[in-house]
Point group: C2
Amino acid sequence: MLPKKNTYTVAIVGATGAVGREMVEILEGRNFPVSELVLLASERSAGERIEFQGSNRTVRRLTKESFAGVDIAIFAAGAEISREFAPAAVQAGVVMIDNSSAFCMDEKVPLVVPEVNAHAISGHQGIIANPSCSTVGMAMALKPIHDVVGIKRIVVTTFQSVSGTGKRAMDELASQTVALLNFRDVETKVYPHQIAFNCLPHVDAFLENGYTTEEVKMVHETRKILRSESLRLTATAVRVPVFRCHAASINIETEKHIAPNDVRAMLSEMPGLIVYDDPLRNIYPLQIDVAGKDEVYVGRIRSDDTVPNGLSLWVVLDNLRKGAGLNAVQIAEYLIKQG
Amino acid sequence: MLPKKNTYTVAIVGATGAVGREMVEILEGRNFPVSELVLLASERSAGERIEFQGSNRTVRRLTKESFAGVDIAIFAAGAEISREFAPAAVQAGVVMIDNSSAFCMDEKVPLVVPEVNAHAISGHQGIIANPSCSTVGMAMALKPIHDVVGIKRIVVTTFQSVSGTGKRAMDELASQTVALLNFRDVETKVYPHQIAFNCLPHVDAFLENGYTTEEVKMVHETRKILRSESLRLTATAVRVPVFRCHAASINIETEKHIAPNDVRAMLSEMPGLIVYDDPLRNIYPLQIDVAGKDEVYVGRIRSDDTVPNGLSLWVVLDNLRKGAGLNAVQIAEYLIKQG
């Protein structure tokens, strides 16, 4: 458990990546009580400098000895690194908040979106997992509905930005776009196919059953966060040529009837959620508008009459903020508050 | 009815638009028996020249007198023009094939995808309608499934390219992209919001019930083409920053069970449809690959276990070819064959 202090030594593993950099900004922006910030990355990135609170901090190489004296370590370097270094971190008495998928489905590890299930944090045994970005947006938008009318089934199709893959994918979208506009050939390195001016129905690895790990993750994570093992969810995850923010087209079937206006009223009261829904005035959430925002945006809330109690909605969140960095920092803030 | 001849006088209304230009290419590419090609457009575009069979043809201004001597007129200039000029065309004895939404839901007008319901053509009274591009892809992929196991419900989310809006929208995506890559401000003229590096959950006009006309059209057109009034369909139509081809994430529930392998086998036999489905080898339909192709491509066919008989699939078609121009020309070919 976290000791009661005024300030904390915070480590960021994967500090030079897209989520890591965002994390540093979020810690600074929210005045997180940091006594020392330990920036960790692979040997390749060690030595880089990142600004925090007005001074440049040097990124150090991650080793199993990096965690001495650290109170909270936020991991944003992928599942392999998380698995490799978790034992050393826990051994050193650190509370590890993991952005990767490594421990999401581990029964001993709470999987947390603070606005939805902060209570789960208190049961942690050294590791707390951050859900994948697509799950965070869906869980935020669906939790109030689930509490009141019970969600039976979800059919979701995502529109995921390249920043979900990382900084190299953002560079690839930019460079492919420039190449195409200059009639040059496109190089593909990060994705198996061109992403510029194209949509890939392929996020993460494919499984034998035809689904991707991303799609399966959304099923299990949503059930775990909403504490509903009977919830049925089927997903299609698609990568779109957008730099930042993930959108999702969500269709749900609830146990009891609820009118769109009641959904709007209910969601308006959810902390961290903004209802942005007036389509006749061209008002609906857009990825370019939500970039840099802390809140999850919901719009296009409407009845679906093809099932007894159907609803459709459109959800957008900044995958680097609420979808990753911010959610992790909010978990750390909750830990501190609870002592 | 169309007289039996060796060659026909064909008019294209809206010849200078994205679909119109494609139509000219398709007529030439398929060796359609054209004796004379009459290119018609608004006063603004009259005088432009378009190449057909090696020589430049001058575009003339569309008037109510344009149809004298014309056998077949293909309209691709929007619903208003179709409504205004249909009576003159029919009066002149022309068979009108309409690409707009003007007559799609008119009970006296057959709505046709030749591979799916060519038989409906014979009942025409001067006008035959081409379905909207999103409906064409879905009808092609779902017809064989519907015939064998009966489709009860469809949940579809589209990824529609800007060429569906027309040439000006393609220019807008290009110019906004260039502006952003040069750190200049973006101008929006065609769409209410920036389309470059952004997805708009907004295709066509919004209705009071929160759906767009595009989404409602998909419901009614699919029912009409599949001749199934009880078919339930709910759609979310999204515009994506892609130049050409529409994709759709489709989830269906059927009356009887069918395994993905049987679906693949069945769809492989459908004329005009290509099953492109081997995700473990990164094989699935992509908009950039399907551009310029005549066939509808289907992939990511998989079981959805959240309902008794669920299936998900990913469909891509070239909205300017099978989604518009090609389908219209195929209707004309069928008319000629039937005499």
